[in-house]
Amino acid sequence: MVAAFNDEEEVTATLRAVLADVLGLAEDRVAAFDESTPLFGALPEFDSMAVAGLLTELEERLGILIEDHEVDADMLESFGSLLNYLRSKALR
């Protein structure tokens, strides 16, 4: 089991690592993402096939459970919206 996250920056770093890993994006490109960077529908690498792998990898690395009904276009819209969701799940 993953130790509890208590640092917002750790969640951010994990999201960046998973985006680079799963979507095959260059690390320096992902490092430049900010809260307003659009994700789903804006990155050709981030298609519906990639969503499943991305969510499962985030679950494994953050030790959280993402309910399918919580997954929608708003949550995946931008780096900031996905990060906010993950922080609400991982930081308790």
Binding site: V2, A3, E10, T14, A17, V18, A20, D21, V22, G24, D47, S48, M49, A50, V51, A52, G53, L54, L55, T56, E57, E59, E60, R61, L62, D68, V71
Partner: protein, 225 residues
């Protein structure tokens, strides 16, 4: 090709059915049996595994990669295969490598392969990024959001149920390796991409080299003690 880095195909038997296994390295060399990742992750990590096997063969090992029943060149259909068939296959593959080399193998498993590698009797175990069965099952369910449930694979209900309940078993001589970006506990962390998540199969020479080096070190440590 039959040199140290040569590629050969052997047969092994699971419950009376003949299956294939790929070997890189000499049959009589210290053996390493690879238990592959499961379902779609097996395909996504195939190039990684092959690169690891080549590096390990160059290092003096004989590497064996069995086709699990219902996968690869197997003549059996996946929907007729049970979880126990896979466990039996892993055990038989390890026995085959042990008989050919005269030595007990190191059993190296990736991802979901870590859920069945305890079926193999080996001198030691090594795991790369072990996954929980429940997590793999959720991922396969989720791939249905893109229209194709279980990524087009059709496991039997019993295989599916066993997968969902499976967790990696504790082993006496076990080394677990994870990616540097993974916060879960491990004996060592290596840098590289999570190839098993990529929707397009790929490989990483750096990850293959790092994984092979760690596995080689562990196998030599275990052989020396």
């Amino acid at each position: 090709m039959s040199g140290a880095g040569g590629l050969a195909f052997d047969r092994y038997t699971v419950d009376g059915c003949s299956e294939w296994m790929m070997r890189i390295g000499r049959a009589e060399a210290p053996p390493i049996v690879i238990v592959p990742a499961l379902f779609e992750e097996m395909n996504r990590t195939r190039a990684l595994v092959t690169a690891m096997m080549r590096a390990l063969a160059a290092d003096g090992f004989g590497c064996w990669l069995p086709d699990l029943p219902g996968t690869g060149e197997s003549e059996r259909a996946l929907e007729e295969v049970s979880w126990d068939d896979w466990r039996t296959a892993v055990s038989e593959a390890a026995d085959h490598a042990a008989a050919a080399s005269g030595r007990s193998p190191v059993v190296a498993a990736l991802r979901g392969g870590c859920l069945i590698d305890d079926a193999a009797e080996g001198a030691a175990h090594w795991r790369l990024a072990p996954a929980l069965g429940a997590s793999l099952a959720r991922d396969m369910e989720r791939s249905g959001m893109a229209g194709v449930a279980w990524a087009g694979y059709a496991p039997s209900p019993s295989l599916r149920a066993e997968l969902e309940a499976a967790v990696p078993e504790q082993e006496a001589r076990l080394r677990t390796v994870r990616l540097a970006s993974d916060r879960n506990e491990a004996d060592a962390k290596i840098a590289g991409p999570a190839l098993w998540r990529r929707s397009e199969p790929g490989t990483s020479a750096a990850l293959a080299a790092a994984a092979a080096a760690d596995l080689s070190g562990w196998a030599k440590t275990c052989a020396a003690s």
